[in-house]
Symmetry: C2
Subunit: 406 residues, 2 copies
Amino acid sequence: MSGREFFTALTVAEALAGFRPARRTAVERVALHAARHRVPAAAVRSPAALPGFAKATVDGFAVRAADTYGASDGLPAYLDLAGAVRMGRAPDVRVPAGGAVAVPTGGVLPEGADAVVMVEHTAETMPGTIEVTRPVAPGAGLVRADEDVAAGGGLVPAGRPLRAPDLGLLAAAGVTAVDVHARPRVVILSTGDEVVPPDTVELGPGQVRDATASALAALVADAGGDPEVAGIVSDEPGALEAALRAVLPRADLVVVSAGSSVGARDETAGAVAALGDVFCHGLAVKPGKPTLLADCGGVPVVGLPGNPLSALVVFGLVGGPLVWRLAGCERPPPEPSTRARLARDLPSAAGRLDVVQVVLDGGAAHPVFGPSALLSVLTRADGHVVVPEPATGLAAGTEVEVVLHR
Amino acid sequence: MSGREFFTALTVAEALAGFRPARRTAVERVALHAARHRVPAAAVRSPAALPGFAKATVDGFAVRAADTYGASDGLPAYLDLAGAVRMGRAPDVRVPAGGAVAVPTGGVLPEGADAVVMVEHTAETMPGTIEVTRPVAPGAGLVRADEDVAAGGGLVPAGRPLRAPDLGLLAAAGVTAVDVHARPRVVILSTGDEVVPPDTVELGPGQVRDATASALAALVADAGGDPEVAGIVSDEPGALEAALRAVLPRADLVVVSAGSSVGARDETAGAVAALGDVFCHGLAVKPGKPTLLADCGGVPVVGLPGNPLSALVVFGLVGGPLVWRLAGCERPPPEPSTRARLARDLPSAAGRLDVVQVVLDGGAAHPVFGPSALLSVLTRADGHVVVPEPATGLAAGTEVEVVLHR
């Protein structure tokens, strides 16, 4: 039976390509200092050219390049020192033919000059006269007024989370607030009569504390979302449907951490189907097969497998990209990864994506096997290796990409 | 002169190995939901075994494995159905010899049983009798009471930022608060008479808005720090020293985004030297040579190059690891990276680490060249390639690791 299910299940790539809820979060304006990793709703253009004035990129002397042609240690060019530029001030002098004006790195290029000679290639042997011992080409030792960004030029694109240098460029352009998509509100519902809150001090027989919700909340935050751990729903008929009805109006995405038994899984599928359209029920991935994707009145719903390990693996593959997409980001930022060689053979069934946890030891990746009921398999691992659908396994020694836990 | 400086400068690795301020931030207790990416100050151990009871990992029947030996489709083992286990409840029945008890995935293994047969390998052809068509070994279809974590076993180690699965395992163990190092308070001082705040609407001649501080604040936050953008200090003699004196008492790390001219750099070095011990002034890295590391009464101070691009590159190499170390994390979490082939030759001077920004196009890495005065070089790039100190360059076609901007 499990073999059959795998072959009718969608691949992760098919699911991500086909399940494309149109929903996007609202646009809100945030201050620059709060805009890190947020997703701009529209490209931001520069109101003016940057840096806004031609400036020296070396400490030296602004000159007319032609005046230095042929200069050498043996035969320096002699230029008249006409003055000096001060940082953050307009030059009060221009560079005449045969003249030079001292300028610090970052100083405004004075009129008349078309290059800056590095101070290391000059000497002031007589007061008021500069010896230049190397020729410079026009444009050397400076940046043009619009060389960083032209007026109206793009500062940051829409749809890509803002990185540190982006914030710097926005600040340089005087843009101190950005229109970004609101963080997607992701409501996490746990189910299962055996599940109790993490702050339960003494467990009754057969009870387990809700591990998945806390871990999912962290993964949601990693994906730029705003997680809400909405509690534990009993396995009673109708309870999950009622809980879903209650949270859907405030959710951009609902994640159901399903009970682990067949009955609990059926209950999840039934409740979701009663409220919307099930896109798929079953992914060709191990662990994580019993994954459900649905659209409930425009709100995507992800039903995760009951085992914490499976739930977290699937959320990483499918849920993270969905959260980014809700915020207008089609291409999630890259995850940390490294290359390593498999320390042993990895068997896999063709047609199924296998996600195998590994411990890194030097350049070797040692698979961590264990029931997907064990969360410690995940916490002991440094990352995971993906064995793609067509492969029937990977041989020991194969170089693989390890996606690192972060 | 610049050549000489490179050869007396420390390598980045030497600087990180040698500059090791003993300072660590205080320990504070945070709730689990706020502990993502925080660094535990001590290993956390489990008060009890997890999951705490032997449980089924499949839907099926708890049995004595010996009763199933030799079972096949042709010759099933017949077992008496003695009852059923309900989720989250203690079993009210034990498994006698020749008997079976129905149990859902996650249910408590009843006494007497040592294995669980998957429901797929059974049939209930007569009420009260289960046909088992496959033999199971002892331990099959279940996890032991301490298989996830033993009582007193480690849940999470000290010194490693907490990941999503760690939070799950802590929740499973009922640990709802963790002692972590406080986020290092990183005070960012900008200097330069030409530098004005980002919210300056109209720039005067030669003025530039402070781009570096905003970008540095984001990098500090990426490294788990708590940034404070403390404003712009003039180039007047004594001003930076006074500003440093004012911020040192509240800082775990001070970052000085130095003015770009020689004079401004000298001023930074002088101010820092007046207040503490300069560890090095000059790193063998391009861009980023004029980097200063100092210890001012136990507070590390990093003096960055004046150009925004250089400052951000150096902070990524040196500042980020320092921030992590202040929080008790010796091995910063991995950065996103990918492999690509250089689209053209990269020249480099031996003895110097070159950080080259690249744009990725399929599997090719195209270097983005441009003066380090241009922040757009950094925002256009997808990541950077490091040409290590011994290399005199890398040939086109070389496979390189690209550290991706995030």
